[in-house]
Every structure is written in structure tokens, then in C-alpha cells.
Symmetry: C2
Subunit: 457 residues, 2 copies
């Protein structure tokens, strides 16, 4: 990972996140020479693991994969990264709409009818999502109608009780990382469709997108992937300008580095892709698309204890609450290590509000919430760490880019369509598990295939 | 307007639109040395006049001022730019919700009750808008409630007839340049409040924001303003990086130009401001704000005829229609010139849809609409020109930046608040006639005052 001033390659890749590195690795295997330009001093993008306590890697970014993430399971196997199942024994702890803390069985007893009604809404969502072509959502039969309203507005018309509507909001914000009032209903249906069904997405516990974790933390994936293409990665190389023509590309970085190639794969989120200066400039539709895909607001906060004491009480470490600054939590202990690890999620409004408080204040509010749900032992963690992704200069928000009303139908066709020798990757352009690591791999492979087809056909 | 490689100044201004040039002129008058860096090869920003036919300047960008635009009247007087009133004699031509073409009097006779109901809604909007502090909309008593819904959703609950709802949409899109389903209701109320009352904004004819034009075209304003500060403007200098500290700023352009100063005023729309690389990077709230203020979609199309033949038929050259690609038109003849000039507006969805067609196809559809309203003589213009602002690399949309739900309340405080020695201008940051030229001047003056207070207090 050296920093020369001029680099020649066949394919310049912007961004050493998972998508960009997969694109680079794929073109390399096809016999083309890639160079990946990464703005940050590290690879991995939205994957970031901290290991302040030896043996307790904490995934501040992407963490889980699910049973249908075939590309990720294959990648982990190829890279020799072992996986293990998410802990899921015991009851979830609820506190919604003023009930006070209730254990899962009590919550289900008390709100059984409401949960059945919610289940009907989820099945309805599945039916509607099935009509959305994941590679062209704007061609769904009811695309115009669905893209004219927000997910929140549609939810509001479903006749749900307050508790069910609140639960639905929490589960959805847990995916989108913005309130449902900001997201097109068509975008929600697209998201569901790229992932299968709502039960995959919204599963509170078994199944779904969060069944499996990586030994050593998720960072093992980009770390080992980067090792395979180490000669082709340059870090601390923020791309500012892409000059492109049928003859090739010249990519200029802050600091003076210039990389030349025949094609370029831009493997960063759409809003960041829109911040690069293109010469010749891109079309109005492409530019305005990148003005209309803001990244979500998400923050993870980890509490590390000397043991997972909640398990003794029959709790699974999950809370679902509308009281404190976190709406959800997970038991993210490391198998073979004695520590107890609780991960709290702050997403959407909670990330915006609590994420801007001083850390001590935020930690205090989160601690109070944990004590309410898991008892007084939660008051004394050995270690605490959190991180808000919008503050990170080279990411600027998580988990992904969302579309408000009219964006898919008026601009969506410009999302992944190459423009000359300029190609687009990043999970935000995926058609299968978009917004997940699985989508990052799919998009990187797809962009690489476009380049390979153009250069080697 | 030379292009040296290093410039020293007290104040670096990014963007030679009206706001940036006003900021530069204001600091210059206070005894400070500015330098304005303009990406384009011309000054004026969203003001652009074409004069393909001698004596017939066509304003492809900003065109009118209104009676309460005090700063603009004063600026025009100071610069020696004469003004004249917008032509407004005769009837408007309507074609809404399938009625076929109706003259204004017939339209009012037929839909009198609906228009009275619409008037009530406008008065209601005025009352609500009066509660919005223009310099802090997020502090309005009902800010959270109003920012959680779209303007379109609020309109839909007002019990308006289809014709009144359609008319309200057309008038509003004529201001915002995006469909009301994309804009926060709070943002609409803010817009109304910064301009006074809805009658100022939505006036179809007399009064309001469009009473007065400039002799020679609006471009006379930036042209003469630029002449006053010509030694302090550099064109074709696209800013890519702003390095800032309490000690000053270093601003780097594509091509190698470097400008140093003590403060910087960024006088471009928020989304474009967000595309600059800041070192140190800005906060998450500021960055995500710029991800959430997309520019609107607007396009003007001019038809020039040998005479204003519609006037002979008692028509004022205005149409309001939901049939063709244009929702509105204006008679924009030049006093003292014999030509007849009709300006058609394509805004929001119409700009997106028709704006992407080949010019010949778009022109044909617009011609057909003009023939329907103004007769067969409209079929044969001497000259036609149009332009979509999202295609312009250094503007990327008009008329201004809009906010969807939750943006004002969660991010609005970061809109114009300086960050160290970095200040924000452009009409999108104004608190009086935001989105208009009047707002550009107000914002430029305000940013200049911040700098002057800091450097000369």
C-alpha cells in the first residue's frame, strides 16, 4: 500500500469498501489490472471492528449475515473466516407505549391481537413487494402510486393499534435508519423485495438477516480480501476528479496522485459519488439522483460487562423500547470469551438526537435504559464505545442510501446504469440484499462484469 | 478576470452568483480584499440571459422582482439598471381537469365556489406561516408536527375539489419546482413566511413576486455588479478543497489555482457546498443537511413570434393547464420591441419528463399547447430556446433547494450557522424571500457582515 504519484491500471476502482474490493478482485481474476483508491487510511468502508479488549472485537459497522446471503457465506469460506450463530436464547424485553418493562411472553399475552394485526400488515407488505422488480422498481405495476407516498403514510392507513404501529416503526427504522416519514413506500417495498420477505428483514430473533457473525469480527472479511489484492490498493487517496472518455479515465486525488485506466468503478454511496467532479459532467438525471439519496443516521453503542448476567435471568439481551435513546439491543457476546456484551442501536431520529449529545450524557441515558431492562448490574460496564457514522468523513451516514417520494420513478434508472466507461457499485446499487454486505458483493461483481464484458469480450 | 496560480485575499468567496458577488462587494466596501472563485466561465449563477435576437433578451434564469424586494430595487437603482412592469392586460387561459380551454372569466364563472374554497385554504396557510420564525423554522410552535408531513399530504386533507387542488399544486410547484409530495409542510410554510403571504407568492397576475423586469434582461444586474469588483473575480476556477483553521483558509481549485484568506464565504447551493472537500471535515449534521436539500427541477422555454398576437384577442399570454408539458406561461415581450414572446414553464415532474425528451419533441408538444390556447398563429415562432438547469454542471437544478420531511427540525440549525471561518451564503440560506434574487442579496450581505464583524470589530 504505497503512495506513488502516477499509477497505470486497466480498471480504477474508487473506494476500498467491500463492493470496491470485490470489483477489483473480480477484474484481477479475469486478467485485468485494477487499482483501488481509498480516501480513508483503512479499507472496509462501512465495516469497522474495534478490539480495545483483547478477544472482544466490537463491530461498529456491519456485523451480521443471514441464511440467504450466499455470496457472503462463500466469501467467508474462501477467505477462511469462520462464522458462528447469533445467541438467541431467552426472552426479549419490551417497553412500548407506556407499559413499563415487560418480558416477551407477557408482552405477547397482553398484545396478542395487536401482533396478529401487525402480522397481517407484514403479509400484505410481502404481497405488494413481490410485484416490485428489484432491478427496475419503477416498472412495478403500481410504481407511480407507491412512489407518491411515504412508507409512514401507508403504515398510518393500516388501522394498527399504537403499540403495533410503534413496533412496526421500530422494526422498519432498524432497517432503513431513517423515520418512515422520509422514505418512499416504493423504496420500502423494493427493500423488502431485494431481501425476500418481511420476516427476513424484521425478524426479531431467529432467521432473517442477522443469524450469523464472523469470528474475529466482520473486519476479517475486508482485511483478508485486501491482503489478496494488497498490491492494488492505495489508501489516503481521496478522489476528486474523474476525467472520462471512450479512450479511458484519468482519476485525480487530493494530494496529487493520478491514476489512469480504461474504465472506472465508483464503489461508494451515491451521495459521495455525486461529490466527485466528472469531466465531461454527467447528465442532469444522474446528478439530481445523487442529490436525492441521503444516507441514513445510525449509531451503535457497546457495553462490555464482566459477564452476560442477563442470560441468568432468562433474557436474550434484546430490548425493544420507545423510552430511551435506543430502540433495540442485542446480546453480542463473543463465543469462548467470558465478557458480556450488549449492543444498543440508535437509528434515525435517535441517532440524530442522542448522537449529537456529549458522549457522557448519551452513555448515561443508555445505561439507565439497560438498568431498567436488565437490572442494576447493567450500571457498571467495564468498557463503553460508540460511534455515529455521519461524522465519518468518508462514509457520512449508515446503513445505506434511502429514496424519498418520486426518486425511484423519476431518477431510479440512473442508479446503476454505466455512463460510458464509468460504472457504479456499492451496496446501494444492489438488486439482492441492497444495503447489506451481500448487496455490496453483488454490486461489485456486477460492475466488474460490465468492465470485463467491455474489455475482454 | 485573470487566472493566476496563487491569490492572497482577506475573504475568499466561492461562487460568483448574485449572493457571492454581493458578499464580495460588501466586504470590499468595508476595506477588506475579497476574491471570488467562480467555477463557470461566466458570472451570474442562476441568472442567465440569452439575446439571440437583438433587442430581445430572454431570461433563462431569474427574471422578475416583486414590490417588496427592496434590496433588489435599490441594487438596480445603484447599478443603473432600469425596470419596467410585467405586462398584465387581458385574460388568462385555463385548461384544467378536462374542461378544455376556458378563458379566465368563464373559468371563474364555472368554478367560483371552488376558487372561494381555495382562497380559504390560502388564508389558512397564511395564518400558519405567520407562526414560523424565518430565521429558525424549527422553533415554530408546531414545527415537529408540520415537519412530519408533506405539503402535498396537508393539501390533500383540505377538502378541495379536484380543480382547486390541481390549481393549488400548479401554483405551489411554480414556486418550489418539485411536486408538493416531496416537500415538508414546514418548508412550505417557511417559504410563504419569508415572502410575506401566499398572495405574494401565488399571485397569478398583479402583485406578488413577479411584477417587475429589468431592461436588457436580468443579466444586467450581475454584469454590472461584476464590473464593480472585476479585479476580484476569477472564472473557470472550480473549488474542490477548503482547508480552514482559526488562522485562515486555503482554497484549492481544479487546475491548480490556490486562494488564501482569513475567512471564506461559500455562496453556492447547499448540495454543491456539500461537494467541496473540507479539511478538517465538517460535522455530521452539516454534512447530512447537504445530503437533504436537493435542488428543484425547472426549465424555461421561450417562443418568439413576429408580434404578440394573443393581445389582439384580449389574452394576457398566461395559460394555466394540466394538459401539455407546461403548466404555466407568461407574456414576456420586451417594451419597445415588436416581437411577441411567450415563456412556458416546465417545473417539477414536467421538467423531469419533458426536459429529458429530444428538444424537437419537447418543442412540438409545447407548440401544440400554445396553439390550443392562443390559436394557430402560435404554430410558427421565429425562434425557440429552452434550457434545463439540472444539466448545467455548476448549478444542477433550479429554482432552489427544498427540504423534505424532518430536515428543518433535525438539520436546519446547520444551514447558515458559520463553522469557524467558513460562512454560508446563497439564496437558499436567506430568511427573506429565500429562493429569490432578493434572498440572494440578503444572504450575501449577512455572510459579509459575519466576516466584517469577525475581522474588523
Amino acid at each position: 500500500m504505497t503512495q506513488p504519484q502516477r499509477i497505470e491500471a486497466d480498471v480504477v476502482v474508487v473506494g476500498a469498501g467491500l463492493s470496491g474490493m470485490i470489483a477489483a478482485r473480480t477484474v484481477l481474476e479475469a486478467g485485468l489490472v485494477p487499482v483501488v483508491l481509498e480516501a480513508d487510511e483503512r479499507v472496509g468502508g462501512r465495516i469497522l471492528t474495534e478490539e480495545a479488549i483483547a478477544g472482544v472485537p466490537l463491530d461498529l459497522g456491519a456485523q451480521w449475515i443471514g441464511d440467504t446471503h450466499h455470496r457472503m457465506f462463500a466469501l467467508a469460506a474462501e477467505l477462511g473466516v469462520e462464522t458462528y450463530p447469533q445467541y438467541d436464547v431467552g426472552e426479549t424485553s419490551y417497553d412500548l407505549v407506556g407499559t413499563g418493562v415487560l418480558r416477551e411472553n407477557d408482552f405477547h399475552d397482553r398484545f396478542g391481537d395487536e401482533l396478529v394485526a401487525l402480522e397481517h400488515v407484514l403479509r400484505h407488505l410481502d404481497e405488494l413487494a413481490a410485484e416490485v422488480p428489484p432491478d427496475a422498481p419503477w416498472q412495478a405495476p403500481h410504481a407511480a402510486e407507491w412512489d407518491a407516498i411515504t412508507a409512514g403514510a401507508w403504515y398510518d392507513t393500516q388501522g394498527l393499534s399504537v403499540v403495533a404501529r410503534t413496533l412496526l416503526e421500530i422494526c422498519t427504522v432498524g432497517i432503513l435508519a431513517v423515520p418512515t416519514a422520509e422514505v418512499s413506500f416504493l423504496h420500502l417495498l423494493f427493500t423488502i423485495q431485494t431481501c425476500g420477505v418481511t420476516s427476513e428483514l424484521f425478524a426479531e430473533s431467529e432467521g432473517g438477516a442477522q443469524t450469523t457473525r464472523f469470528v474475529g469480527g466482520t473486519t476479517e472479511i475486508p482485511r483478508r480480501l485486501a491482503a489478496l489484492i494488497a498490491d492494488h490498493i492505495v489508501v489516503e487517496a481521496p478522489v476528486q476528479t474523474i476525467e472520462h472518455s471512450p479512450d479511458g479515465v484519468v482519476v485525480r486525488c487530493r494530494g496529487g496522485l493520478v491514476a489512469s485506466g480504461r474504465h472506472v468503478v465508483v464503489a461508494i454511496s451515491p451521495v459521495l459519488a455525486g461529490r466527485i467532479m466528472y469531466d465531461p459532467p454527467l447528465s442532469g438525471i444522474r446528478d439530481q439522483l445523487t442529490q436525492r439519496m441521503p444516507n441514513g443516521s445510525a449509531m451503535k453503542a457497546f457495553f462490555v460487562y464482566d459477564s452476560p448476567f442477563w442470560r441468568e435471568d432468562g433474557l436474550n439481551g434484546q430490548l425493544i423500547s420507545d423510552v430511551g435513546p435506543a430502540r433495540m439491543s442485542n446480546d453480542t457476546c463473543i463465543p469462548g470469551d467470558d465478557h458480556g456484551v450488549i449492543l444498543l442501536f440508535l437509528e434515525g431520529d435517535e441517532a440524530r438526537t442522542a448522537g449529537r449529545l456529549p458522549e457522557a450524557e448519551r452513555r448515561e441515558a443508555l445505561t439507565a435504559e439497560l438498568v431498567r431492562h436488565f437490572g442494576s448490574r447493567a450500571a457498571h460496564p467495564e468498557y463503553y464505545v460508540d460511534g455515529e457514522w455521519s461524522d465519518r468523513q468518508w462514509t457520512r451516514g449508515c446503513y445505506n442510501a434511502n429514496m424519498g417520494p418520486h426518486v425511484w420513478t423519476k431518477y431510479g434508472s440512473a442508479l446503476s446504469e454505466p455512463i460510458g466507461v464509468v460504472h457504479w457499485a456499492s451496496t446501494d446499487t444492489a438488486t439482492y440484499w441492497s444495503a447489506y454486505m451481500e448487496g455490496a458483493v453483488e454490486a461489485g461483481e456486477r460492475a466488474a462484469r460490465e468492465v470485463i464484458d467491455a474489455l475482454l469480450r
